[in-house]
Symmetry: D3
Subunit: 255 residues, 6 copies
């Protein structure tokens, strides 16, 4: 059985949130795969801008190196901003899945244009810049946000957040011509199915992409298909030239 | 167990070719899924240009309708030109996977730029036009071809064809900066693994995407993740307005 | 005198509609050219989505082959979706004009940006995808629709349809910065002149492109200038490899 | 009979060149149209860079105003750089055709990609910039040049120039994937037909666009179809605010 | 001390306006540089469309030649439309700065997207076309205008104009996602600072680019860094081939 | 006198290299500005891929915070990959200049297209991705590399490295149509002037942009013009939500 590690790029995560997060990937019912989860131990409580992304990126890459040494067959970065994705791909040889990249490419195949509904306006240019790098072309119609930060989600409560996400999704469909929706934050757990049904009820047959399980499906597909990232694109970095840093050692006895 | 149907958009296929084709998807070892295969019965012996694509497109869409009635949970179009993909998505509610679209989006996530190596120059503009529609942006670096039509592949023999594919792949890597390669024809069965190893031997750590199994993995992922194409994007066509045509009837007793 | 054939990609057309359609091209007053008209005999009563386009595409290509054998010097596809245009260009050596492509390139030279006003929302992504393939760049500002299908046009009556087209055209101009308008359906006969005058009256000096006569002018220009499509781009398909199909024979005695 | 004026944006033109130029448009055999020709009287002997274009642009616009007052129904700017095209469209209400714009849009409809073969490297960025403004998208594959200025063409002689143009055209086809060619200078008179035949002989069925007659066909099409440039795009300039300049007066008795 | 010449591409300028204009560049406090100012003497009282741009372009290029002969070390074209910029760069070897180009590239580095607020709608397509040529990519979010021509600015008075500019800037920020603003006319003197403060007060920390001083800073940077435009891109025009024109002579004794 | 800090994103730098680096900015002769230099103390000896960039990014951002507290009026990141640029702009209110971004925008104004000549192929996709985010459009013609890593530069010696840079620059000009060159590594100290002269000698009047002094000129221009990055684009991160991290405190007594 293959192990896939979910790296949550936050200092810590509540037990409840961790359970909800793992539920999203465990319900995929592929008995040949299992998932585990780690957090960073230090760093921010949420990822909402370039600073947070930059801070967590090297830590994610290092966690990916540990996962490879632990025998994991793929890692998933549990954040739509995909912090450290390119660095981690250079650092390891197992697949490194970013839910942002993965959800955008899935959404691109589901219809003509998609939108992201996310937390704060500060992620809007980040998503568009990522779409530019990922080669998403004209497929990203818009990014709309509910104006609530990750750490405030609980304050509002699920019901109110869901209503806000529905409101923004309807704008994406009716004003921006989106015909698919990406949930733009992996912290929106347990929302995708409800949102898709609610849109359906209002007459909009629009799939809602849940990024974390979509990333899990991509990890499974890559492992099963023996597909790996291009090491010509993501060449191994030279860690010997680093001073004052201790990286996870590849010749560890743990393996 | 879910059934996925591979629709080969040709008038017929030799038993050997059919066996080889099905081998490519059966080796994915996901025991919850099985595959079967149909051909069109009429039409061209190969797909090499817009005329061939146009001719087979409605026939593929009708085969997709039959597949849905037969209880299949997804269909795969067995051709890199994805003939009839949009029409079939409108005609049915199950996922319709085009290997061209699917391989391009997979390749886009494996590195910075990819190339396709294919049969004849006549497919080059078709692939680029499809990339434009699929939203592939800058990721498609080049399309290079071996100058041999599908029906001539046997004449040359596997060894010579493989050598030609290797030669073109090397040009894609060295001259066009591709760091991943898509095999640009589903008729290149049993080549991908060899080609990837050969490139590796020559110092190029470049993944080679095999389009049909990649499409199968996407079909599995969509079924498992309960992901469907957007019916807002691909609205049901009104078949009542057709005259002189008999479409597979949705209220058949076969279901 | 050169004969140009208008291929209407529908199963049939009322006498009145046929007369109105031919009026649009006959009033161009170039006495060196005449036009005739054929329908498909089978197929849909209207073209409103990818399925309809796919279904009619091969039939249009075959009608183009017949036209070439009948000595026509060009064919025009009487539909803004240009079904079968690329296939037909491969099948024959005479010019094959798609009003969608032709109107977009004409509109691109008339101002800075143009919009299409058309029937149903389902054509919007098709027009944008075509614009991408045709190389229209930034020139297509928007596609707006009246929400009425082709077969319902009569139900509403000309006056109401005209008012809807005017309303959408004004939005294209005022909200999307269009400075030219394309009538996005060849079924809008006898509207262009009225619409242009009405816009003028409201202070908007905006040309309204009528796609069918524009296509006729392009056909005339190409014949007169001895300009043909590139047979390097649109190579002759190999019809020998088709099974179970009878194509119009090029060595017919009709010629 | 409608009169169309060809404005050659040079200080002067030899009788022979003028005759050759007018031959290109007179052979179109549309007896309802005639052409005349004017030069600027002052200015450069050739247009080869932005300075030459800028210098002649206002003079072309003024000549267009005179043409409108003389009762011409369209003007054609006899230069692939289209100097003064936008200014002239603002200044008058009759169609103003630039052969560069017109040939690019025609070429865009003839195949998948086209190239221009022209005089000096200095026109290369100008053509690409114009393609960007004209909305030509990906259709312009390349600009290749023979390295001979307009005023030197005679020195080399037709035979040598033709051979150079053939050589560059072959490179466009074989290296840049062009399937149509635009002659990138209106000074290449009497070459297009020969070049197209020569390419055909070498196995390349590639149309060669002759820009001046293509512009003439566009002028004829626009007049016959009563199509005008958008005055919303090209608003009348306010000539009252000019000091020290005498423009052709619109209320002249000549009209 | 290096002299930089500001060329105002108008027939004339009031003393007050000239003073205000020079204030904008003189307050940069770089004591190693000084500025002077010339007008064209003939031509339009304002630049509002392609005709005005075309008319003034060659005159600006000639003024740049005079400036070079006068020993100026750079010239600045005092108009956001950058009339004659490319022609002038060909004509001289000293830096030629267009405030439109310069402000767009500065704004592109200040945030994710910028907008221009300008005078009349007729400049909108000009700014977008320039952005296309300048390579500004997705960075130009929108152009919004106050609907007041340059020569009418005085009629409304500074207070009313400022309020209009504020209103449009707010729309750029709130509706078009701009996070920087370019003042889209060099005639808006003394507004930038006020506008930036006003936006700040309303909660929008958005820089307002004042094009003329930004151009002056670019001129200073280029002189200090010994950076010149590429003479390979902007080759010297051949003035010998001009007839009936007297250009400033480079071998003047003035130098 | 304003202080500008150069942050070299390496663990350390030799005295000689530090001196050479500071020489590049000190020779700009603007007596109102002075420069100092810091290194990171930990981390890589060179920046050659995404991992190195990711590792240094947060450290650069923290050094920028320290610089702001030390009263610096701008910071420059001494690396063409601009590591941490966006994060640092969020963290501070003083200008943060990335030489990569800055050199590209300067080069974009010097001609029609520019190329970068740099160290290793691994930076090629990074530069293109950055160009996409920076909005550089079509202006970046190519990235060519000498195949020598930063830490190996010394091994080859200046003469050989210079010859390699010249060879690649010539290819950029002759094969990729570049008319300006950016030195694609801030480690190429003292090369730009020589390279520009050498190209000139060989007949190519092509400016060579030296990124670090260009960044210094931009920093000076922004300070002098009181231009700041958009805090609406680069919002202050919430450092309170970080655990296990000690950031430079803004209320330090050092200020």
């Amino acid at each position: 059985m293959a192990l896939i590690r979910v790296i949550t790029p936050l200092c810590s995560m509540s037990d409840e949130m961790a359970k909800d997060t793992m539920n999203e990937v465990n319900c995929l019912s592929d008995i040949q795969f299992s998932f585990d989860n780690v957090v960073l131990g230090v760093g921010p409580a949420s990822i909402e801008n370039s600073f947070d992304e930059a801070y967590t990126a090297p830590l994610v890459a290092i966690k990916a190196m540990e996962a490879e040494q632990d025998g994991c067959q793929a890692v998933i970065i549990d954040c739509m901003g995909d912090p450290g994705m390119h660095a981690a791909r250079e650092a390891v040889s197992i697949p490194v899945i970013g839910p942002g990249e993965c959800a955008m490419h899935m959404a691109a195949t589901l219809g003509h244009q998609f939108s992201c509904v996310s937390i704060l306006d500060s992620v809007r240019p980040i998503f568009f810049d990522h779409a530019r790098i990922y080669g998403i072309g004209h497929k990203l119609a818009s990014v709309r946000t509910i104006g609530v930060g990750v750490t405030e989600l609980e304050k509002y409560g699920a019901e109110q957040i869901n209503a806000m996400l529905l409101e923004q999704s309807l704008k994406c469909i009716q004003e921006d011509h989106a015909d698919s929706i990406i949930l733009g934050c992996t912290g929106f757990v347990g929302v995708a199915e409800w949102l898709q049904q609610e849109l359906e009820k209002q007459g909009f047959a629009v799939p809602v992409i849940n990024p974390l399980p979509t990333a899990a499906l991509q990890a499974i597909a890559m492992i099963r298909g023996k597909i790996r990232h291009s090491k010509r694109a993501y060449k191994k970095p030279n860690l010997q030239k680093y001073e004052g840093v201790k990286f996870p050692s590849p010749d560890t006895t743990k393996r």
